[in-house]
Symmetry: C2
């Protein structure tokens, strides 16, 4: 018996950005095929946005119980109502609404923990405005970590149609990333990636390709010694722990078409080593997946786009990919939690990095 998966929850994100616009557009594309999601935010914002931008034919329906989203989704966008205290001016975030933005995330997490939804998909937030209002986290990922599993280690995976990447260092200068990189960070990140690929992507023995840091992976120490001192020892630790890790690979050749078919995710040493190949290949920039949380979480890999807010030209492609992938990952997680037979049934699709990016 394959009981229906609970719906997804989509947070409101920054109300002065493009979140409401892409939410409306995403529903129009997904209403017939799913996955069903409910919006956790103010229906008034959606209605005003639809009116301003001429996005017709998106009926909104308030629901009290997330489970009702399934029955509603094909004919209306289900909304779990949340009040917004301040005015909304496209392109001009207001600290008066910061509490509601944060509240939407908290409520989605609550719904996930209670089992009412199967995954959290987050619209982009404007960190600087939230921080003015007392938000003390560097970003979404750390906040979710704190809400859901304090003390754990959330890991970012980016999934595109042809490539998955996991950066070991992320939002810091290249110089400080080089100084920070150590064997333990690589091992911990790769272990989290392997666990996430098994649990959420249904890949029971994921193949990890660990990137070098220097040109040609250092050419045996002739161009940098981090491969010898840090990266190769990390790969050896991973292999001793039973992980199918290889490398360090030459960073410039490991993302070519033939090479990337040989692994399920690339473990990358710095932000652009991961993001350059991903965005070079995929116009939508892939989907951001947080591994290591007690629920599935995805988000589009773009920001609030304040510069184009209120203009009607925002593209919902990355959000749609994030919603589809969240649905697929939630299905996979349920299968892997139930046992290996179900997990295996998803593996073929997952390996091939199909259009769901799963």
């Amino acid at each position: 018996v394959n009981a229906r998966l609970a719906p997804l929850a989509l947070t409101m994100g920054e109300p002065a950005g493009i979140a409401a616009e892409i939410t409306l557009k995403a529903w129009r594309q997904l209403r017939a095929v799913g996955p069903a999601f409910c919006y956790v935010g103010p229906s008034a914002l959606l209605a005003a946005t639809a009116l301003r931008l001429g996005i017709d034919n998106v009926p909104l329906q308030a629901i009290g119980d997330a489970g009702d989203a399934h029955a509603v989704f094909s004919h209306a966008l289900p909304v779990i109502e949340l009040a917004l205290p301040g005015e909304v001016t496209p392109g001009k975030p207001s600290a008066a609404n910061a509490g509601a933005v944060i509240g939407s995330i908290e409520q989605a997490v609550d719904l996930a923990r209670q089992g009412h939804i199967s995954a959290v998909v987050t619209n982009p937030i404007q960190k600087s405005v939230l921080q003015q209002a007392g938000f003390a986290h560097p970003g979404h990922t750390e906040f979710l970590q704190q809400l859901a599993a304090p003390g754990g280690r959330a890991t970012m995976l980016l999934a595109g149609p042809e490539l998955r990447v996991v950066p070991v260092t992320i939002h810091q200068s290249l110089k400080s990333a080089l100084a920070a990189l150590d064997q333990n960070m690589i091992v911990e990140t790769a272990l989290a990636a392997a666990a996430g690929l098994a649990q959420d992507f249904g890949i029971s023995a994921p193949r990890l390709a660990v990137a070098g840091l220097n040109p040609h992976a250092g050419e045996d120490g002739h161009m940098g010694d981090e491969e010898i001192r840090i990266i190769r020892p990390a790969v050896e630790v991973l292999r001793r722990r039973g992980i199918d890790a290889t490398g360090p690979w030459s960073p410039d050749t490991m993302f070519a078409a033939r090479a990337r078919r040989r692994y399920d995710a690339a473990i990358c040493m710095y932000h652009d080593q991961a993001l350059i190949p991903l965005k070079t290949l995929d116009v939508n920039g892939g989907v951001n997946v947080t591994l290591g949380l007690p629920f599935v979480r995805t988000s589009p890999d773009h920001g609030t786009a304040l510069d184009i807010a209120g203009k009607g030209i925002a593209e919902p492609g990355s959000l749609i990919s994030a919603l589809r992938l969240a649905g697929q990952l939630a299905l996979n997680r349920r299968s892997t939690m139930r046992g290996p037979a179900n997990a295996m049934s998803n593996e073929k699709n997952s390996r091939t990095k199909d259009p769901n990016y799963a």
Copy 2:
């Protein structure tokens, strides 16, 4: 009157590598359509390679004058004979042949300087073996620079079908590249790129996109200050000198399909920032072009491939691209040297980064 362009010269490269094999295969693909090239090396090596690998139907014809290559090319591979003193064992380079390998490069440069050939295309060499025999240059590029224009500054451009990149720092560790990067290097490299794109690629006012160094190009100094201290000032100097330079751009988004249509070359801060997007897009890894020499020079962007030498499985794609591009660049250079009217006639093709990579 569009007088026929002089033929290209192709050097022998490392005789124990795949050079002879890919030379034979390249002639078979180009004999009907050109560009005509002559091989500067031992015909005995080509003949033995053809026999061993069963590469049939490649008649060899010794020529005394490079100009004869045109008449010969459609029915035989033209060879400017050069003796090889030592034995050749595939996969095992011998210092006994180092002098001949170097001699092939010297002779091709002589032919270019005398106007007998229109471009030099180099097969890959094994630097470590040449260095044992007293070769004192880090690589091909520096040797050619020394032979042809001592004291000048040769600049490496890599051209793929969809992207051209010019790295400012190249073969050094990432840490040392960060330490070495300065405003003057960026300006000099970009000026050489602009001059080369105008003279050889027929793009009269090339658009240069200068990459940032840090994630998101530093986000106004929040993640590294090299953009503020070094890169933005370099872009300003370039603009004051009349170059259409923009940036610093966020490295992860500037190579996406839509973004890369807006420039003719990306000026990159380090090796992998240039090579990752190029090789992610192009299986053959593009063509290596040396700008700043008194003649056109290209080479395939792979090494001697000693591990597969003598097996018959080497792919000639990158060498064929290098030969085609050399022919196109030589035509462009002749046009731009003759005046702007001819140069303009090539511009449309060059802008679109067509299959010739020109």
